[in-house]
Amino acid sequence: MSTETKPDIDIDRSVGDFRYEMEYAYDAGVGLSEATIDYISDVKDDPDWVRAFRKEGYRKFLEKPMPTNWATKDLENIVFENIRYYLSQGQVPKRSWDDVPDDIKKTFERLGIPEQERKFLSGVEAQFDSEAAYSNIKAAVGEQGVIFVGSTEGLKEHPEIFKKWFGKVIPSGDNKFSALNSAVFSGGSFIYVPPGVKVKHPLQAYFRINAQNFGQFERTLIIADEGAELTYMEGCTAPKFETATLHSAVVELVAMKGAKIQYITVQNWSSNVFNLVTKRGLAHEDAEIKWIDCNIGSRLTMKYPGVVMKGKGARGEVVSIALSGDGQHQDTGAKMIHAADNTTSNIISKSISLGTGRSTYRGMVHVPKHLKGCKNNTECDALLINTNSRTDTYPAISVRGQGNAVQHEASVSQISSEQIFYMQQRGLSEAAAMSLAVNGFVNDLVQQFPMEYSVELKRLIDLEMEGSVG
């Protein structure tokens, strides 16, 4: 927080900013065409229905216009022809850390993955460019029947569960980028938790982009069967390249009756990544889906995690923290679709804009006709640090019929000069005082993250705050 801890912070900053020269065994080349999709399908030995699904996605991708009628024009800077859509070393994930190729191992060791796993995580899946490089699940969890594999493995080995839900929560034509993902998806996780199984420790995934001009399109599908419970965490990094990189994931969650899923993301892509992600959960009766989303990195993030509350008494929640530094635009928010009686949703969003950073909250709350007892609460608070910082709030709330309660509140504020003055009087530097105030602003949300993530978050905030004062 203050200057004494600075050495630690410096080490943190460099954690993701490195890359290795790789010889890729499989490379779909630059640009996107039907041939690229066939290449990916061939390499991955896709079943016919997956190949057809990809082609359908590709067709929709071409059809759909860029959403620049409401979104930022910065999207126009994505040059789809220059992107590499598939790169991998070998498509079968290794089960033991020792089997992972040395160069990939080096990358993940620098990110500290096996170390984390040894500490407490139930399973780890690490994705390097297009494919999972390493995946393991602790024996205890595996014995309970929990499946935690890559999406490729999932669709081949568990087609009966996979096919039932894949593309059902987020249809491939949902938006241009979900269509793109449907065409070229690779990697990501498939998780199935059997009825009544409560996974004690979080399952975890790391995503890393190593190659320049590379697009990462992982696809995650998580199913918690009746009464099951699960927490999933993902982290992402990429080195800084000269040119922009695209990350466009699709994440689908299905919580069956009474199930609970908590999905935690700490996004720290380097500042030239376009991070355009579609995430949505389907909550059946009395199920609960909670997205905890923290966006610190990337050039442009567009991400609005959603919950479709399909069963009575279902509950959806989004907790969102966004930090936009110089040149960054965090365009984040939430979508809450109430589709049954007595469903409740809660959105809490806090954003901080620094320097020329821009934070945008975009939300959608939808209560259709003839529903009773639906409740939504939305709170968005924005903090502006510098005179050239920017923040926007664009919620859209539709309510039909009576018997429901929906409220939205937003505020924009600064750190009061009195607060800073007070802390300076007590010997803190201006920068330290600012950091403390910003950490105070997000503190109640940071607490919701698991321990080591909240520590990391605080450090990242301090780091971003450096030099932003004055």
Binding site: N388, Y394, R400, A405, V412
Partner: protein, 445 residues
């Protein structure tokens, strides 16, 4: 394109054939009359028509038309209003606020009554065409001087092109008018189209209250494309109320622009009692330091009425305040859309901006859409916005039922109270009482 060649003017997918067919000027020279408008304005109208034709119709994906029922924008079938049959009857029906400084009555875009005896010296209350001729500079400076930014650029162009008359209010520097000015806009005739306009210019330190009343003579289908421009000089104060009582079959646009200079205070209330489709756009420009704009709206929606309101609180200068409060009560299968934006431009430090929309849902078939937005480009600002949708308070209902008030009346009383909190924002108590009485009648209390 020549002025008379209207029949050749056709643009594909412009569904306003009825409007297209009308002569550019109701009193145009080809009818054997001389236009009351100066020639430069007629030229201006021709340009506006060209612009109208060149602009596309709103499309489903246009953000300013999100949630809107675009079918309501099909203006084909509307014809320019022709002179009303019984002016005296409409004058007799134009009874509103009792204690007025002046009254001006339009019927189908023509002045049928003008009483300015109570106005202080120097104050102008004129038909627009007269203002354009006699006060050209003032008119040119303020008449539709800012672009319609909230989606209706095309319809604002149509208004300009088809304008026939309107009210021009000018209160010179330092002049204070105690009593309100009331302006009536009547529409009569099945499928009649009118283009009401109210232009209010307040000089430095001036003060005025203006009531615009929009009424249908009969229960007929009609189109009103109304514009009001409120221009407030430094330190001036304006209270503006639009009371809209169109027939339930009417389509209406009410497009507002408010510009407030240093330390000026604008309070504008729009009450929507009628109409089948109402599109309101209110665009406040906080131009001077310490300027204030209070934006209010009362919307009892019933039947299948759609009330689509878009607002903009644009802060250009430091230490200005804007405060928006919109209350919608939705009965039957009515529909409301509220899309509001607070924008704090880079220089507008120490801005205070508030925005609140509340939807009271009275029926299972009603639908309320709210899009309260913020765009903040300056720091050291205080901005909050909120949107709520809820139903009648059970406790309040129970309290009244327990005291023998019939359920329907109890519900109306709660709605009355809900709207009352907006009315209370008006400074003029006499006006509050008058409008409160109008609310009581509309709610059958």
């Amino acid at each position: 394109m020549t002025l008379s060649a209207t029949s050749e003017i056709r643009v594909q997918d412009t569904p306003v054939r009825g409007i297209t067919a009308l002569p550019l000027h109701h009193h145009g020279s080809h009818e054997g009359h001389t236009s009351p408008w100066p020639e430069w304005f007629q030229h201006d109208q021709q340009k506006a028509w060209d612009l109208y034709e060149s602009l596309p119709m709103p499309k489903r994906n246009d953000e300013p038309w999100r949630f809107a029922n675009l079918k309501a924008l099909d203006l084909s079938g509307f014809q320019p209003a022709t002179p009303v049959q019984d002016e005296a009857a409409l004058i007799a029906r134009s009874s509103g606020f009792a204690d007025l400084a002046a009254k001006l009555i339009f019927a189908n875009d023509a002045v049928i009554h003008r009483d300015v005896t109570g106005l202080p010296a120097g104050v102008l209350l004129l038909p627009l065409e007269q203002a354009a001729t006699e006060h050209e500079e003032l008119f040119q400076k303020h008449f539709m001087s800012t672009e319609a930014r909230l989606g209706s650029k095309k319809f604002a162009a149509l208004h300009r092109a088809r304008l026939r008359s309107g009210a021009f209010v000018h209160v010179p520097k330092g002049v204070v008018i105690e009593q309100p000015i009331e302006i009536w806009h009547w529409v009569e005739g099945e499928n009649a189209a009118i283009f009401p306009h109210t232009l209010i210019v307040l000089g430095e330190g001036a003060s005025a209250t203006v009531i615009d009343r929009f009424v249908s003579s009969r229960d007929e289908r009609s189109l009103a494309l109304a514009v009001n421009d409120l221009t407030l000089g430094a330190n001036s104060r304006l209270s503006y109320v639009g009371v809209q009582e169109w027939s339930d079959k009417a389509t209406a646009f009410h497009l507002n622009t408010t510009e407030v200079q240093r330390d000026g205070l604008s309070t504008a209330l729009q009450m929507n009692f009628g109409g089948s489709y109402i599109r309101g756009e209110s665009d406040s420009h906080l131009l001077g330091e310490g300027s204030r704009s209070v934006m209010l709206s009362i919307n009892p929606a019933s039947g299948t009425r759609e009330i689509d309101q878009r607002t903009f609180q644009d802060h250009f200068s430091p230490r200005a305040t804007s405060d928006l409060l919109y209350h919608n009560a939705l009965a039957d299968s009515s529909r409301t859309i509220f899309a509001g934006l607070i924008k704090v431009e880079e220089a507008a430090h120490e801005t205070d901006a508030y925005q609140k929309v509340r939807n009271l849902m009275l029926s299972d078939e009603a639908e309320a859409n709210s899009m309260p937005g913020l765009e903040i480009l300056a720091d050291n600002v205080r901005c909050t916005h909120g949107a709520t949708s809820g139903e009648l308070n059970e406790d309040e209902l129970f309290y009244m039922l327990a005291r023998g008030i019939p359920p329907k009346q109890a519900a109306q009383l709660i709605v009355r109270g809900f709207f009352g909190t907006v009315l209370e924002r008006l400074e003029n108590e006499g006006l509050q009482t008058h409008l409160g009485g109008l609310l009581d009648r509309k709610l059958n209390l």
